[in-house]
Subunit: 233 residues, 4 copies
């Protein structure tokens, strides 16, 4: 097994990025609370660095009140701790797997948000009945396979599922909860918030009767416009 | 195509109203968060001016924390930007269409609020089973047609639907979400909050069994009293 | 029609109680927001005085941010305004009717809280499946008749229903929403919060399958202990 | 009946622990509000001492705004008041019973949280369809028997049920609500928050269709890893 370098052996620009990303990742955890995506210590956020093959991730089982930039853990992309006083999230190996296999992804978020997780407990994709889903997910929100926690098996399931749904930034792991990806941690947090919102709305719609699904051609138009025109360019 | 005037070429009273309306529209976005009507950057509010054929609207895809009076965009009633540093909301052409075709409307709000949008995903009007609906909507809350985002097609669908439901300040666009109108932006925000509340209540009622709908004659009495007697005159 | 006295013609002790009750009633409206019982301007609270046949009630259609002790309206028990700059709540005549016909009641609250109102839209009593309901309501939460707004007809329906359910501090008016009573306004606000909580819980239980109703003998024991032993005596 | 000692007759180290635990228990009640587990005065928390056979518990029927460390009541493990100005919680005898019969338990929490209580109104265990349930509960969340309030009967029902479900820190008493246990009050509050979250998620899943239950072998693996690896060791 290769020797893991300590953070102090990395160049100054890496150390500077670590400092900035620790701040970003610690602060973004407040958004998980703000949008009601987590209870107690559940949920975790990571961001990959651009200056080295490292990532910054939440420590394991620590309450949100105690999260500080300094408590965020730095690991390499095999999940080995490079800097930090606490053990990293139980999902570290899965975050690392996603970064190794999806080179455009620089942010990963995992929650057990209520309605997304409810869909996951039944193994059903969330059908695409909202223009907001066409925009954000380019179709249904897919369900990934059942996997035990602690190894990189969940990461494998996430990557395998997202390959089949290339427009979706979210996969809901069966019996578990959503994982979301993005170009940075903020984008992945946004995807986590949107996943719960569409999960809740489509859940409520299903209780009312027959959902009208959107035509795949219209979904493609929505997704294209949203990806290329929406927001500030 | 006519030349679009810049804001500095408008009379002083127009510039003064723009300044005041930017403040109003920016501040009202807090109410969308307060009443849980929006997630992340979703939702937008506009208000038409009284001193010129202009409106003030939220910029596209900007997070609520970043909204300031200065970031609000001023456009004419064809959606052309007259003042502002950012691109206006994706729904600008639809807001503009509504103002051009409904001369008493000076405020428009759009959200994806959860339960209203759930009714929209099934294409069903919300039946009138609450005195509060008789008061505010004068009957059921209507569903509008499915339309793609980005052109004025949504505005057309809103206007066409509200013509058939002249007492309703709200229409829920199929597979999309509610648009509400009012004599100013605050009235349209109130209508958005009431739309979500009655959508949630009637959704919950439907899960309990048979809803008792209110007699149309009683609805007319409720709506008349509310419009003419309620509040501070 | 008898001449209505102005507040300044009442004895000093009445004016002192009015001042204190205005503070109480204004402040209690914050609890309606805290427990998610109201949206926008919906909902109202009143408290009857002990020193004169007067009551203090919320003004009509005013936003919660604007409510101050001074804005609370004083009326006699026929709903005539005795002091105040604004028109009193649309439900004033019904509050007054309740006070005239239930001499032990000194607080009345009305809301459109979501789940209680949903039961009201279907005309079904909330069945007693919680020890908390045995404690607080001594049985099911009853539904009252459908009545139009603006006269004392709603008050009549409330009183008539509560006579049949003497242990309940709450009645849910059909297609409208809950009215609650108490020995003061705070007790009625508590009853409003408990009504929504049991409405929500029993609504959720009904979606799971068969509710186990509590035996009436056990309900009587719960209600007796709660009324006579619970709390600080 | 034996004479109950007053707190001032206990050694200094007991008095010091009482002071510290009163602070802990008073402060933890804020978490019940934060995670929406209680309405008005419902819910109570206790913690057992390590230096004497005493416990600290919430006073009966007091609003959360009024809870201070000083208002917390100290009782012995038969529920006799040893120190405090107010009457202890109605559930004191049941908390005491749990401590006497489960020697590793030093924290007990009781709430009427909405979705957990809804399961309790139907008498159904919450099925294990979430890895989070495997982690925290080692299987389904069990329902305990119906018992009246005020004696130690509820405590008996809790202990009897948890003996059959040795990995679960929670039991939902039929028609009543959840009781949770832990190595201290904070752990029991965490279990209360997790109980409501899994109750809500599994309730929502049941509305979507068939729940996929997790294989008991996988549940055992999840529970073992969570108990022995998760968090900071």
């Amino acid at each position: 097994m290769e020797q893991v370098k300590s953070l102090k052996d990395y160049p100054a620009e890496v150390q500077a990025e670590v400092k900035q990303v620790r701040e970003v990742v610690a602060t973004l955890h407040e958004q998980l609370l703000k949008w009601n995506l987590v209870v107690w210590t559940a949920g975790n956020i990571s961001q990959r660095l651009h200056t080295a093959d490292l990532m910054v991730i939440k420590p394991s089982g620590m309450r949100y009140e105690s999260l500080t930039p300094e408590s965020m853990v730095v690991t390499d992309l095999n999940g080995n701790v490079v800097d930090g006083l606490a053990a990293p999230s139980s999902d570290t190996l899965s975050h690392a797997y996603i970064y190794r296999h999806m080179p455009n992804v620089y942010g990963v978020v995992h929650t057990h948000s209520t309605y997304a997780t409810a869909w996951g407990a039944t193994g059903q994709n969330i059908p695409c009945g909202l223009t907001m889903m066409g925009d954000e997910f380019g179709g249904p929100v897919p369900i990934g396979p059942f996997k035990l926690i602690g190894s990189e098996a969940i990461g494998e399931g996430v990557v395998e599922t997202l390959k089949k749904y290339p427009h979706s930034p979210a996969v809901i792991m069966q019996n578990h909860g959503p994982f979301t990806i993005g170009k940075d941690a903020e984008a992945a947090v946004k995807a986590a918030a949107m996943t719960e919102e569409v999960a809740h709305t489509m859940w409520a719609a299903k209780q009312l009767g027959q959902i009208i699904e959107i035509d795949p051609e219209d979904i493609a138009k929505l997704n294209d416009r949203y990806t290329n025109v929406y927001g500030q360019h």
